[in-house]
Assembly symmetry: C2
Homo-oligomer: 374 residues x 2
Amino acid sequence: MSEVYAARRTRLRERSAAAGAEAALVSRPANVRYLCGAAPRGAVLLLGAADDLGDLLVCPQDPAEAAGGAELVRPDDALRLMSLSAADTDAAVAAVALAEGAGAASLAVEEHHLSVARHRTLRAAAPRLRLADLGCAVEQLRLVKDEEEISCLRIAAEIADQALGELLESILVGRTERHLALELERRLIDHGADGPALPTAVGCGPNAGRARHKPTDRRVEEGDFLCVCLGANYRGYRCEVGRTFVIGTTPADWQIELYELVFAAQRAGREALLPGAAYRDVDRAARHVLDAAGYGEGFGARTGHGVGLEIDEDPRLAPSAMGKLDACVPVTVEPGVHLPGRGGVRIDDTLVVRPEADGGPELLTITTKELLAL
Amino acid sequence: MSEVYAARRTRLRERSAAAGAEAALVSRPANVRYLCGAAPRGAVLLLGAADDLGDLLVCPQDPAEAAGGAELVRPDDALRLMSLSAADTDAAVAAVALAEGAGAASLAVEEHHLSVARHRTLRAAAPRLRLADLGCAVEQLRLVKDEEEISCLRIAAEIADQALGELLESILVGRTERHLALELERRLIDHGADGPALPTAVGCGPNAGRARHKPTDRRVEEGDFLCVCLGANYRGYRCEVGRTFVIGTTPADWQIELYELVFAAQRAGREALLPGAAYRDVDRAARHVLDAAGYGEGFGARTGHGVGLEIDEDPRLAPSAMGKLDACVPVTVEPGVHLPGRGGVRIDDTLVVRPEADGGPELLTITTKELLAL
């Protein structure tokens, strides 16, 4: 694997050089992980500051201690590790001082991640170094996934589907949202997840259909809608799946109608996922179905988002988003409707954009989307 | 409760005015929560921009939706709410535009929280407004807790003690670190926690004694040290407790010696907690015990830290920390030693600094610190 990370770092150095900065400092943890295979707590990555420095991961303390049982970065010919003695030291301060000492004139930093105060500290620590903006260069590299990354996402999706499937076989009436969420998280771990990909959302009755609902002590009752959204983190890669069920044997007419509407919106969004499709057009495909039925208001800001090393990353599938989908970009499609006081429906899949010649979008989360009465 | 929040906002406005900024923008979520009672996702608080604006909480969307079942901010005479229509909008951008429109000349912002890129966006959105630095003014206000806050911490500690106590009554040998951690988190919820205060750390055998150890699939074995660190979040207030046990009936001599050493260091740290004590002197009290026994190297950067709305907040009890303890400041005291390959010991309490006349430091986490063989 270390060649993969070395190749990613080479691409980043090329982009940074093309933008006029000879060296780059990566501080955002998910970006450090993408470029090194792991992100020890507080570690920053210094690239291209000097030939004899190589690519240098600066850690506030011994990475084995900082990882606390998590993945370790394996140093190799292309990546050196430096541990500072004190865990309270800002590794970025040490890194800019190194870059200046090595004779670098300019250093591109992640201005969307560094706070104004921390950036000022870096300037003071290396006054002769010109700090430039690396922008979202690493996030741009992360957008299109390689097959290794997609297979991690596929396993993460399988784990989430398994956890959800097992829950559906158990008795639900009378249990609280909180306990159902905890049980799902335990099952994710049982099936090999490193942890939940996002806070598990379980909402029943009037809470069903709310986006990112934080579970409460509300108990599941007969006749409720029950919405569940969960995801697994597998080797750092995160996916999500969301489903809505009816509790009891016969869904009410309004429940069937609302479910079919959201299902139609979600299908329209999924079918719009093709290489070259504008982000906003995918959003519009799903949104239009809800708008036409008069439910556009409550839908929320976007139809879906990218997933990968973070559960919510680029692209945004939203009305104002600029850009077009590429192949091998994994995204969620997750429209929903919430009716205050009555509850609602959300349906959420993770899919990978694929060309039509390859069969179109690859559905990672395969739990059925029939309206199940449990 | 709303008077409490109004009084806190008044104190902040006074500090901000004394520092020369007529208006302040609070963006850090824990700070927003401290000043309003809740922090809807993405909300920012605008204070003192104009008499007719009052104190204004600007939310990217309807706070009831954003809260997702969590606490709601209750608007009152002293606090108005404004919802923007789209959840993707940066509420801070809307707030600076409002402040400029209301005729404010300067606005103090949290430069330690805003990224360089976001700060630039704010400058562009309100070019006539001079942005100043609010610094850590809210964090300073948060340092000393009122009795209401301390009683939330006391309940959080009780919950953590209960969850830990129940775990100790169950069979441990053969279970994995991950499953023990999940069970502890379930028990926290059972006893009324809003969630864990921090990622639950469970380490056995060679993993015992590592700070913030991320649980693995290692199973508990006879003869192991078992280290557990957990905490409860109760109404937003977070505390932690950490204990080390021996698995089996007779601890080995080296285990007894190491435990007694860490216990002595932790006691020295606790006994140093008095109003007026320098942060670094509390650290030195604990550190000296380990240093004298030759274990100073592996101890880590600090003896403890403040707790409250965040699990890791000011003060830092560390060698380089500047400042002195006040009464009613809750802190952790958590020295530890980890011997690579063999494991180690950590003992962690949450206490509230109290004057000697009131009996000295108030121990919130009362689980026994005897070396239990389980």
